[in-house]
Amino acid sequence: MPLIGILPKPHGFRIGRRGGLAIVGIGAAAALSVATISNPWLGRAVHQGISDSLHGVETVAAMLADRSPGARPESALANLKHKRQAALHERGLPKIRAPYGPPTAYEALATPPIAPIAPLPQAPLFATIAGLPPVVPPGNGGGAGGPPILSNIPGPGGGGGFSPPGVLATPQAPPTLAEAVPEPASWAMMLLGFALMGRALRRRGAAGLHPASH
């Protein structure tokens, strides 16, 4: 106890070992009080320490913090557990082209404008009375060579068909096939093949140009 050694000893009063400890304790408390009052940060820290201990008892916040794995780091924020399946039933299809291209000038000329549908004639269309010539409705037959149903006389184009009067069947141009577009996998395969071919050619050329050296 060097502190006790430097303290003056009054006559007739002897400071014992316990008294010295008490003086040290009082001095430390006074110094801590002065420091706490003069320094607010230290004061907060001391208060926090005291409140945390609660006379030796752990606080609830400290207990919860002890069992926690810690706050989540920034790096964890990019790792989502499940990817959103918004496009679950939508697949990335290749570009869809129309099966028929725009009408060419020939088709535009050959296709007359569609006339409005005229009212049906009042006369019976299917006159099957004996002795009367069969009535053939005007208009081209739509059927492709089917057997005549209403008449014994085969109509133009095979007959057997029926179309309302005034409506002309538009000649259908042969469908133009859509231009073939390679699939991405085909692209990848082609590029891979080119790369392998180039590599093989380079190897072969290098072997020819540079004979085995010593």
Binding site: V57, T59, V60, M63, S68, P69, H82
Partner: protein, 214 residues
Amino acid sequence: MRGGAIALAGAAIAAGTATWAFSSSKPQAIPAAALPHVSSNPSSEAQDRVFLTRAQLAQAVAEGTFDRPVKSLLSVKAPLHFGDYSWNDRGVPAGATWVRVDLHSQLISVFRAGHEIGTAVIVYGADGLPTPAGKFPILAKLRDHRSQTYDAPMPYTLRLTGDGVSIHGSSVRWGAATHGCIGVPLPFAERLFSAAHVGDEVVIVGSPPRGQTS
């Protein structure tokens, strides 16, 4: 030059197709044995839980840790790891059940009659899809729920909000985040599902703003 651009585009398309094909595969189901680690032990009740003093509770309420009386906490000796949980309701009487979720410490606590009966490490929403803070009554219980939005199993779901935020069983691992739900270990979710009822309150304590350390 143009050929190179086409080649690059083809390679990019092929890579994108491969990525899409890889990502569109079905997510893996949650393994049945999802890292359970029960730290409850059959020792005496005094060792299983810590009964709070009046001063501790007053301080916890003053700090905002609790908003209602809590009598005891589970005694968790060591920090919980991801996938760990502790459940012990032995000797706890029947009573009101509520759940506290602390996003900052990544912990969930289940209370019954003022006593903590379970705690676990959670995963929660990423920054772009944050888990909402506040008080939410349990709206519905869905035992074998499968999300159509994410095409993922979400067993033992406790629905909290109308837009789908829930507590459900999940693979709790480091570095994971959710789209706003609260993921808990599967065995813990099963116990919580049994203990909680529709209407019970879930208090979610929000995470402090980024950059602050508290």
